[in-house]
């Protein structure tokens, strides 16, 4: 079973290296890891998916929290959450029939056609892992030339928990952001 951890980390050079190095050293097997900016300046967010049959998610969270640059970790597996992946799929266009078929697939899964050339098209799909898998399967018949997936990003629904006990950058900018509590 997959478990999803969300980590707030300081946006500093080498943070991803620290996290990745720790995963390697502790032999943690990671299904996917994404990192990006957040609503707060200086703080990035990592979404980490681990297969709990191979890797103890609780240990992953505890070791993440040992890292000074990691400000807060939450396991959102059991919380209602939005878990989305983004995929870009480049498919072969054999003929007009194939072209309309690809358009139909994209349309029915709310995928977007983001590029159309005479011989190829790029379909962008956003959604759960299962949705993307379904679209990819449907497109496979047309010949997938290239595919890239971002890995899962996640956000719990409802209340936001930022872990007030965690190490947090301070200074005017940060404290006002904390008080704002968006």
């Amino acid at each position: 079973m997959n478990r999803t951890l969300v980590a707030s980390v300081a946006d500093r050079p080498g943070v991803l290296n620290r996290v990745a190095s720790m995963f390697r050293r502790r032999a943690f097997n990671i299904e996917s890891l994404t990192v990006g900016h957040t609503e707060r300046e200086g703080i990035s967010r990592m979404t980490i998916v681990v297969d709990s049959r191979q890797t103890n998610a609780e240990k992953v969270a505890q070791h993440l929290e040992r890292l000074v640059d990691v400000l807060h970790v939450e396991d959102i597996t059991n919380r209602p959450a939005i878990l989305h992946d983004l995929a870009l799929v480049k498919v072969q266009i054999q003929d007009k029939v194939a072209r309309s078929e690809i358009l139909r697939i994209a349309d029915s899964f709310q995928a977007k056609l983001v590029d159309m050339c005479p011989q190829t098209a790029i379909v962008e799909i956003t959604g759960s892992e299962a949705t993307i898998d379904t679209v990819v399967e449907a497109l496979r018949a047309h010949g997938i030339l290239e595919m890239v997936r971002t890995g899962r990003v996640a956000m719990a629904r409802g209340e936001t928990n930022r872990g007030t006990g965690a190490l947090a950058p301070v200074g005017e900018q940060m404290s006002s952001a904390e008080q704002g509590g968006s």
């Binding site: 080498g14 290296n17 620290r18 190095s21 720790m22 050293r25 609780e58 240990k59 505890q62 070791h63 929290e65 040992r66 890292l67 000074v68 640059d69 006990g165 965690a166 190490l167 947090a168 950058p169 301070v170 200074g171």
Partner: protein
């Protein structure tokens, strides 16, 4: 006020209360060295950077404050690595400052460039590469805070040459650090209630006290708790000093070369109360057979240590001292009879097997040597060990008094740790008598520091336990590797003449009487002094017992060579 990066280093060290640093200069750090004198901080010139890290570590362990090591870029920085890893494993707070090539040539394989922040990533609590002098003061402030807070550990700051030379307006960083201290974790009520209930219901409890008891300042709470519940206490190697050895509840050291009583009690316990320790494999033996009848309560400040090797019934992620105080308020006063009497019986029985009762028979057994040092110093010395047989014998036979320092490389088991760590310890406690017990193998990984002792005129007493072998490995070869002594016999120099060449008075002891006399001389001497003890390489006196073979259960202890006992021991997995 405008300052250079170099000046900011010393200014910040002074503000942190640093009185002494250990290091070696070099091209990449010369600029930082230059203004030192104006800041009144003493610099100890060690003879190898590894010693700088060990000395800073020894200073930290003996003082409870942050130790500081300084090295140049490239090989200077890489030489720190073993010392940093040693400090990391034993939660010792040190700050290492390394020189680095200039920022304009970083990443070009410049002369004496090495990626020391990359190299030390997994062996530091945190590290920094400072590329802007404006960040330097806050970085040093944070480094000290990180090193000593929570579970302590080493922090490294890498300083490119141009950052050392650059000037900036110096603003004291107090109160505007990049970080606020991570609040110490506290136990929730429910966990305290469950722990107290387990303690009240137990019939055969044992307390396991680790270094966390000392780091958390919970020595008094431990004594109160043990007394109130009449619970026997076993200590880890690094937990020596957490509990009074003269107390009837004291079982001694646990683990591979622990006291038989302690291991026996653990294996027969129905409850283990683990305080600030981490169930290291040298402490538990094979996990599946560890304390099979016992429920377990584990309190540690590092959540990742909970349920790591040994699954427990109540895991409490919290600072020990307040947590123990909370538990004391919740538990009833019990005598834990007949368990307590049973452990007392084992104690009496074990004392009949005490190796110290055996007559030396013409040879010089190391336990007797250690016991003589203990007697001469009244158990009051700051004792530092190297690693191996002499370390284990010292741990067994130097009865560390409550809250007194016992310094040893536990987690990493670093040979060469002893002598430089003793230098750091002597600086931390100038009034105390410091003894370092080293084997002939470990001594030769550090004997260049004899120079440092002389240059600093430090009255460190060095006991070289010389069995002309890498004794611990040789012992394993005898017991588990068909007696084939592969690469463990040493052809040694005359260590007394080595010492004398450095200007250090030295004595050699070959019998118990001469050992006693030499120890008395060293004890009375004011200045560095060395005693070489010639001990047996062969036979039972050359082996540390009791011993739990690697991969065996904790109560599968052997007390003498299997050949003598007529049994056989399998090779460890």
């Amino acid at each position: 006020m405008w300052k250079t990066g170099a000046e900011i280093v010393w200014e910040m060290l002074r503000r942190e209360g640093v009185e002494v640093v250990f290091g070696i200069p070099g091209g990449g750090i010369m600029h930082t060295y230059h203004p030192r004198q104006e800041y009144g901080i003493h610099h100890v010139l060690v003879r190898h950077e590894q010693s700088a890290a060990h000395a800073a570590d020894g200073y930290a362990r003996a003082s409870g404050r942050v130790g500081v090591a300084i090295a140049t870029s490239g090989p200077g920085a890489t030489n720190l690595v073993t010392g940093i890893a040693t400090a990391m494993m034993d939660s010792s707070p040190i700050v290492c400052i390394t020189g680095q090539v200039g920022t304009s040539v970083l990443g070009t394989d410049a002369f004496q460039e090495t990626d020391i922040t990359g190299i030390t990533l997994p062996i530091t609590k945190h590290n920094y590469l400072v590329t802007d002098v404006a960040d330097l003061a806050a970085t040093i402030h944070d480094a000290f805070e990180i090193a000593r807070s929570g579970r302590p550990g080493p922090v490294l700051i890498d300083l490119p040459g141009d950052v050392q030379r650059a000037t900036t307006e110096f603003v004291p960083p107090e109160g505007r650090s990049t970080y606020v201290r991570r609040a110490l974790p506290t136990a929730d009520e429910e966990a305290i209630r469950r722990a107290a209930a387990l303690i009240d219901r137990s019939h055969r409890p044992v307390i396991l006290a680790g270094r966390g008891v000392l780091l958390s300042g919970a020595v008094e709470e431990l004594a109160t708790f043990a007394n109130r519940t009449n619970t026997p206490v076993a200590v880890t190697l690094l937990g020596k000093g957490a509990f009074s050895p003269d107390h009837p509840l004291y079982l001694g050291m646990m683990g591979m070369h622990g006291h038989a009583v302690a291991n026996h009690a653990i294996q027969n316990a129905d409850l283990l109360i683990a305080l600030g320790m981490r169930f290291d494999d040298r402490v538990t033996g094979v996990p599946s057979e560890y304390a099979p009848q016992a429920r377990k309560i584990h309190i540690d400040i590092d959540a990742s240590e909970l349920n790591k090797r040994i699954p427990v019934d109540v895991a409490i992620h919290a600072d020990l001292r307040p947590t123990l105080a909370q538990i004391i308020d919740r538990v009833g006063s019990t005598s834990h009879e007949p368990w307590f009497s049973e452990t007392q019986t084992w104690r009496t029985q074990a004392s009949t097997h005490d190796v110290l009762r055996e007559s030396p028979n013409g040879v010089l057994p190391t336990p007797h040597v250690i016991h003589e040092i203990f007697s001469a110093t009244g158990g009051d010395a700051v004792v530092v060990t190297d690693v191996g047989q002499a370390q284990m014998w010292t741990a067994q036979h130097y009865t560390t008094q409550c809250a007194r320092p016992f310094l040893s490389s536990g987690g990493l088991g670093t040979m060469g740790f002893g002598l430089p760590a003793a230098i750091g310890a002597q600086f931390a406690r100038p009034e105390d008598e410091v003894w370092v017990v080293v084997g002939d193998g470990g001594f030769q990984m550090s004997l260049h520091e004899l120079s440092t002792l002389v240059q600093e005129d430090l009255p460190v007493r060095i006991a070289v336990i010389n069995n002309s072998a890498l004794g611990m490995v040789r012992q394993w070869q005898t017991l588990f590797y068909d007696g084939r002594h592969e690469a463990t016999d040493l052809m040694n120099p005359d260590f007394t003449r080595i010492a004398e060449a450095y200007g250090i008075p030295a004595y050699r002891a070959t019998t118990l009487d001469s050992a006693r006399a030499a120890i008395a001389e060293a004890h009375g001497h004011d200045g560095p002094v060395l005693v070489e003890f010639e001990v047996a390489r062969e036979g039972d006196p050359s082996h540390v017992y009791p011993m739990v073979p690697s991969g065996a259960a904790l109560d599968a202890m052997i007390h003498s060579s299997p050949t003598a006992a007529g049994s056989s021991v399998g090779r460890p997995a």
